[in-house]
Amino acid sequence: MTLGVAGAAAVYTLRAADDCLVLSHRLAQWSSWAPTLEDDIALTNIALDLLGQARGLYARTAELDATGRSEDDYAFLRDEREFVNCLLVEQENGDFATTTVRQLLCSTFQLALWQSLTTSTDEQLAAIAAKAVTETTYHRDHATDWTLRLGDGTAESHERMEAALATLWPYTAELFESDAVSQEASILGVGPDPESLHPEWHGYVTRVLGDATLVVPQSTWKPSGGRQGLHTEPFGYMLAEMQHLHRSFPGVTW
């Protein structure tokens, strides 16, 4: 594959950026469809935070990979094989239980990542992380509250949460995969090797699921490949929709 980027720091930053952009897009799809007005506002709010984080990270990636690309070049002019987000963030919204579980799993991971990135040797990443910690703490709280309500709400909501967990849990293994890029980033002090974030993530998630009367599923299937640009089929449709207008008018100003 051709990332068009040089260096572990750039790829490492781009992975985090793509995670934020794709998750933001998925959450934004809830607009006008949420179960309450308050949650319509909350989901869009989280999506906006994530979009802001993505934009900061793309700007930093462009400096690190020295390609001079704009944030829109990253978002709208790369094909599926060039996106390096994890598979979990691209999973379709499903029902509100699926979105809630996805958000709990993602926000807990992202909060641990941002907390660690506040001490990055890359000052810009550290600055982005400092702001993102506050935002992501709220995202995780929101997901936690809904996990408790739905897990320990009605029989139907409990069943839906179990189904959502069964669907999404296998995708969490990829979050903590270590590879040459993450190892080098860790050695350079750019950011943590995701592997190191697992104990904290696992501790929090299992405690919340336990409080929500939900059981952590067992799964031998550990889908992976997002960090190498190998995505799921629905992701192509998401990008097609997102990129269509931008690509229809090449080079114009919006």
Binding site: P35, L37, G153, S157, E241, F249, W254
Partner: protein, 325 residues
């Protein structure tokens, strides 16, 4: 001399000291607050108007939200998401303002879903291109502001206060819409054509959304007497035209009204006659998207029912946790 609020009331009403006190407050431009005594008609009229306003904000999320997933740049996407989120926020304040009159938000939402309360006719038109997002900001929000600024002085306190914040945000949206259309109009030939096409389609529905002509307006006289409405539909329409006509020149876009021109003598723009028959048709349920908007809102409500039921069940099981949340 009869007080201006006493039209349509018989002598028994006039004799009611509470009514006199109520009308004295309105006549001296003071605010009526939720715990104050108020005539049933005033309460009902406000519930109807505030609910319709809230529903408009909520249904209005649909046509604009239609472009969130296709916004052509990350900057425009962030602006649009924030705008649609603001509309949801406005809906929330307005439902809360209506609740101070003794109704429940869920009742009002049910009335919307049963087609027994309306929302602004303008949201029954489709957003077919990206330029429609800019045209809605410029024209629809422009018309909304024209209508809403006088409501900041409405006689009912909670509605007036909600309007102050809503108007600030709507003014911001109108400027964003103008700026977005300006970028298109001054972009490539194709972008300019897209902007002009959007203005062609949104101009007249925006002029019409200020309501039927004064001669046919059913609620206006009483609402004005009660200090809810301050200006007639036709006065507001003239204000709107006077605001946007010169803005169109700056945008480099031509409103689809051959009769639009400055009238030195009147000190206002002259404009053509809106198609009020079309307005009646769309308000009556036969606009391009009435069915789709209603079905969308109803489906979101139905899809979310199990979530709201779960939240209620959890609150019953864990009252302390729910109170803290």
């Amino acid at each position: 001399m009869r007080s201006k609020g006493q039209i349509e009331h018989d002598e028994t009403d006039v004799a009611d000291p509470r009514e006199l006190e109520f009308q004295a407050l309105i006549d001296s431009d003071q605010r009526i607050e939720p715990r104050d005594w108020m005539p049933d008609g005033y309460r009902k009229s406000l519930i109807r108007q505030i609910a319709q306003h809230a529903h408009s904000e909520i249904v209005g999320m649909q046509p604009e939200g239609n472009w969130i997933t296709r916004a052509p740049s990350l900057r425009r996407k962030a602006i649009l998401m924030a705008k649609v989120q603001d509309e949801a926020g406005h809906g929330l304040y307005l439902y809360c303002a209506a609740e101070t009159l003794g109704v429940d938000r869920s009742e009002l939402i049910d009335l919307l879903d049963q087609g027994r309360q309306k929302y602004s006719s303008i949201f029954n038109y489709p957003t077919l291109t990206w330029a429609d997002v800019g045209a809605i900001g410029w024209l629809v929000d422009g018309a909304a502001i024209t209508n809403q600024i006088p409501l900041c002085r409405c006689s009912f306190g909670p509605y007036a206060r909600a309007m102050v914040r809503v108007c600030k945000e709507e003014s911001f949206h109108q400027r964003q819409g103008f700026e977005s259309l300006y970028a298109l109009s001054h972009g490539t030939t194709e972008q300019h054509a897209m902007a002009q096409d959007a203005v062609n389609r949104w101009w007249w529905p925006s002029v019409e959304m200020l309501g039927p002509p004064d001669t046919e307006s059913t609620h206006s006289a009483q609402s004005m007497a009660w200090g809810i409405k301050r200006f007639s539909n036709d006065e507001l329409r003239q204000r709107f035209i006077d605001m946007v006509a010169p803005q169109a020149v700056v945008l480099g876009l031509t409103p689809p009204d051959p009769e639009l021109r400055w009238n030195e003598e009147r000190g206002h723009y002259d404009f053509g006659k809106p198609d009020f028959e079309e307005l009646r048709r769309v308000v009556g349920g036969d606009g391009p998207c009435n069915r789709q908007r209603a079905a969308h809102h109803l489906k979101a409500q139905e899809d979310g029912a199990w979530v709201r039921a779960a939240a209620a069940a959890y609150a019953t099981k864990h009252p302390a946790a729910s109170a803290a949340a």
